[in-house]
């Protein structure tokens, strides 16, 4: 029997909640027998997306909300994170890996998401990110 577990929630814009939210998803993947490598990548990708939404999108505004949708199947996890900010131009972000940018303290979150997840797309002018990671579970 194939699995498809969907979850949808809206949380307040509090970065203290970030770890708690990601832990729920991470623990589900671990229980399914997803490899440590994949779990690590999803863990970082999910938390970076939440952090971007709360701090950059919603500008740490306590009244704003972050909407999260997750879907877990037998061979992938899909995560949507949406903030209430104005979005950003994904094509206009400086590459954090070149020249002086290496010494900058910001700009690595979006880059990590892009490299750790298998599919990443931005909608609503950048205020919604949809990402997916594929895996195979142990028999």
């Amino acid at each position: 029997m194939s699995m498809n577990v969907k979850d949808k929630k809206e949380i307040v814009n509090d970065s203290q909640l970030l770890k708690e939210i990601s832990k729920g998803l991470i623990n589900k993947l671990k229980k399914m027998g997803v490899s440590e490598e994949v779990v690590f990548d999803v863990h970082v990708g999910f938390e970076e997306a939440l952090r971007n939404a709360m701090i950059h999108g919603n500008r740490s505004h306590p009244e704003k909300k972050v909407r999260i949708e997750t879907e877990i199947t037998d061979n992938y996890v899909s995560i949507t994170v949406e903030d209430e900010g104005e979005g950003f131009d994904i094509g206009n972000l400086p590459d954090p890996t070149v020249g002086e940018n290496l010494l900058k303290e910001s700009g690595r979150g979006v880059y990590l998401i892009k490299h750790l997840m298998d599919e990443v797309k931005y909608e609503e002018g950048g205020s919604r990110v949809i990402m997916r990671k594929y895996f195979s579970t142990k028999a």
Binding site: S15, Q16, L18, K19, E36, E37, F40, H43, V44, E47, E48, R51, P96, T97, V98, L102, L103, K104, E105, S106, R108, G109, Y111, L112, H115, L116
Partner: protein, 110 residues
């Protein structure tokens, strides 16, 4: 998150226990602000008990490196797990930091 420092042959070895992430980064930053204020010039951060680092953790480490470079100090990172090392490789921070396999390699190469 906990940091413990040991002096070994003139090198300050910092053992970090726990994640270096959005929650612990302010504490890590504060700890190393004190260390760099004392201008310790040879530091090894041992990652053997660090399982998770995020972009705020990476930013904190870049900040430590910059502060040390300003007074001519040398920072080395050792004992990174494969997964944490992967983050340094993706972000090319492995080119910026001196990263060695074992703490002993770091201590013998100052």
């Amino acid at each position: 998150m906990h940091i413990n420092m040991e002096e070994k042959n003139g090198v300050s070895v910092c053992y970090v226990q726990g994640d270096i992430d959005i929650n612990s980064s302010p504490e890590v930053k504060k700890y190393f602000e004190q260390v760099t204020r004392e201008k310790k010039d040879k530091i090894v951060i041992n990652f053997k008990d660090v399982n998770y680092v995020d972009s705020s953790g990476l930013a904190t480490l870049v900040d430590v490196l910059k502060k040390m470079r300003a007074y001519g100090g040398v920072l080395k990172l050792s004992n990174l797990s494969e997964k944490v090392m992967g983050l340094f490789e993706i972000t090319k921070l492995n080119k910026l930091f001196v990263i060695v396999q074992e703490e002993a390699d770091a201590l013998s190469s100052f």
